[in-house]
């Protein structure tokens, strides 16, 4: 197990390097630059700015300087767009926001999704089942950029129950709509996976045996059926996590939460190279770590798997 973890972490380093180089090349291939504007700056002003941010250096030197300062000092440099801020400050401000609503969305998606799926499987072909399947597919097909304005119209404009956006340090009123909008489609997927997985498990011999021995249904489900049911759900959590980070783009646009999704899209449009790099590396690292955690959990639940 330990060697597996170490091996995976070893792969993570070249992965991140590839990511850095790929993003760097993509950015430099991009038309425009961070300091282009409709009214071109006078050459001497532009020269001052480029000198300040080290953009007057040759390409290879920039990339080396960058990697060195990231690795040795954990310093992602100044933001080119937000001139009062460094990338570290931008991330320190935006990331906890994304993490907070991402975490709650994750919790909601998993708990509601699994419960719904289990309920549907146990009472297969009952109204609960049809309800769960209907809800989960419905939630999956409604794009969250449609769901978000609908939530706004209903809860903010018509009912006036919830604030229409902002973060305000993450008070609960400001969390509700982002969490609903972000979690529903993942909740739906998890419900579907849980349902079909549970159905499969319930049909296996050892469950049938347990039932035949007269064990109460509740006990059979909890003690025996849950573990194998949860395995496919676990393998879905990796992609779901990445999807939620990506989905934060939509959440930030509609609910003005100020998370890293908004920063990423803006910096891509503004050619704010340092912020793009910082966020890409952050998300890449998280993805790797999260996949690792999922794999470890997998092995822990299913002893048949050996690494």
């Amino acid at each position: 197990m330990l060697s597996f973890v170490i091996r995976r972490l070893a792969v993570a380093i070249p992965t991140l390097l590839i990511l850095v180089v790929l993003s760097f090349i993509l950015m430099y291939a991009a038309p425009g630059g961070p300091f282009n504007s409709e009214r071109p700056l006078p050459p001497e002003v532009l020269a001052n700015i480029e000198a300040k941010y080290g953009l007057d250096q040759p390409f290879w030197k920039q990339i080396i300087n960058y990697v060195v300062s990231v690795v040795t000092q954990f310093d992602f440099g100044p933001s080119f767009q937000y001139k009062d801020r460094t990338v570290n400050e931008v991330i320190a401000q935006g990331f906890p926001v994304t993490l907070t609503y991402g975490f709650w969305s994750f919790v909601v998606a998993v708990t509601v999704g699994v419960s719904l799926g289990v309920a549907a499987a146990i009472k297969q072909n009952s109204w609960i089942d049809y309800f769960a399947v209907g809800v989960s597919i419905g939630a999956q097909v409604l794009p969250n950029f449609v769901m978000a304005p609908i939530l706004l119209l209903v809860f903010t404009l018509w009912l006036g129950w919830l604030p229409g956006g902002g973060w305000n340090g993450g008070q609960w009123q400001f969390l509700i709509m982002p969490v609903i909008a972000l979690s529903t489609s993942y909740m739906a997927s998890i419900a579907r996976i849980t349902r079909s997985s549970m159905l499969e498990v319930l049909n296996t011999n050892f469950i049938r045996t347990a039932q035949a021995k007269g064990l109460p249904m509740r006990r059979v489900i909890w003690r025996h059926a849950m573990k194998p049911t949860i395995l496919p759900v676990l393998s879905y959590l990796g992609p779901a996590f990445v999807g939620m980070i990506t989905g934060s783009v939509i959440i930030d646009v509609f609910f003005s939460t100020g998370g890293i999704g908004q920063f990423f899209v803006n910096s891509a449009f503004n050619r704010d190279y340092s912020v793009i790099m910082g966020i890409t590396i952050l998300v890449g690292t998280l993805t790797i770590l999260f996949n690792l955690v999922v794999d470890i959990l997998y092995a822990w639940i299913d002893p048949k798997i050996r690494y």
Partner: protein
């Protein structure tokens, strides 16, 4: 966002069992599939949606890019759906016929979905089959590359690519393909590992058939079941994915449109009461995706001998 790997892997067992049972797999599967009412209804729905995409434009009274200048700016009062004006679905905010545009958008969304899924499936299958067939060091390296690529937040890279190289349907396919072939490669590799020890493959190897030919002639056909299921489940995800790209304003160029773009535009005017601008495209979007999900589920169940 993407079909569940574990769930799809399950049908790999089916493919192997079919080998044992002989040639009746496809016939059996067809019978099983047609016994699944939801799947059959969905298939019919898909047929209708495709027919609408292909022929709907012919019944439209207007070209999809024709702007009715007398309507611009007064959509709320004049652009409503009506049989009299010939705007069956009303007009969009720019005074264009929504019926023609919905037909066009449905076509483009279906195309993006199907072509995107095909790209992913073809690349993934060939890659996975090659890795699995050669095994050993080649397999190790190829699958390590997949692991590395899987850890890259491709959605972010795709946004960068669309921003940088400009938007085009080609870029969309490429980007979507890049993201989704990885899972397929893993599944295909797993299946290939079991297939390559089968007698017919060993016979082929012994008679000196070239590896590329073995992969294409003997291995890939045996992966077909799993590939079809995966592709069917991938299509709706591709369509959802395209809608997200459209939302970011990086989708297809005007005057072309997709369902995602239409829904996005419609969602902007929803609060002003122009509900038709969102409901018609959303209806086709939802029906298409529902249908693909049910057909995919039906196919998986049909190819899965474990009768539920």
């Amino acid at each position: 966002m993407f079909p569940n790997r574990a769930a799809v892997e399950g049908i790999g067992d089916a493919a192997q069992l079919a080998e044992v049972k002989g040639r009746s797999l496809w016939a059996d599967a067809r019978i099983r599939f047609f016994r699944n009412r939801a799947a059959v209804i969905s298939l019919v729905m898909l047929g209708l949606v495709a027919a609408f995409a292909l022929f709907g434009g012919m019944f439209a009274q207007y070209e999809p890019d024709f702007v009715n200048f007398s309507l611009i700016g007064s959509n709320a009062y004049l652009g409503v759906p009506s049989l009299e004006t010939g705007h069956y679905f009303g007009t969009d905010s720019n005074g264009r016929d929504l019926f023609a545009r919905t037909a066009m958008g449905t076509g483009i969304s279906l195309m993006v979905g199907i072509v995107g899924a095909l790209v992913a499936v073809i690349v993934g299958t060939l890659y996975g089959a090659t890795a699995g067939y050669y095994g050993g060091r080649v397999d190790g390296i190829m699958m390590r590359i997949v692991d590395v690529l899987m850890s890259i937040p491709f959605m972010f890279v795709l946004i960068l690519m669309l921003v940088i190289f400009g938007r085009s349907i080609f870029m969309l396919f490429l980007g979507i393909g890049l993201i989704s072939w990885l899972d397929m490669a893993r599944i295909a590799r797993g299946q290939t590992l079991t297939i390559k020890n089968k007698e017919f493959v060993e016979v082929a190897v012994a008679t000196g058939v070239r590896p590329s030919k073995i992969i294409l002639r003997h291995i890939v056909p045996n992966l077909l079941g799993i590939v079809i299921v995966y592709a069917t489940l991938l299509v709706p995800n591709m369509i959802i994915f395209e809608s997200f790209i459209s939302f970011l304003g990086l989708g297809v160029q005007e005057p072309a449109t997709s369902l995602g773009a239409l829904i996005n535009e419609g969602s902007r005017t929803m609060q002003f009461g122009y509900m038709w601008q969102i409901s018609f495209p959303l209806f086709f979007f939802v029906v298409t995706i529902f249908a693909f999900f049910f057909v995919g589920d039906g196919l998986r169940d049909a190819l899965d001998p474990k009768d539920r």
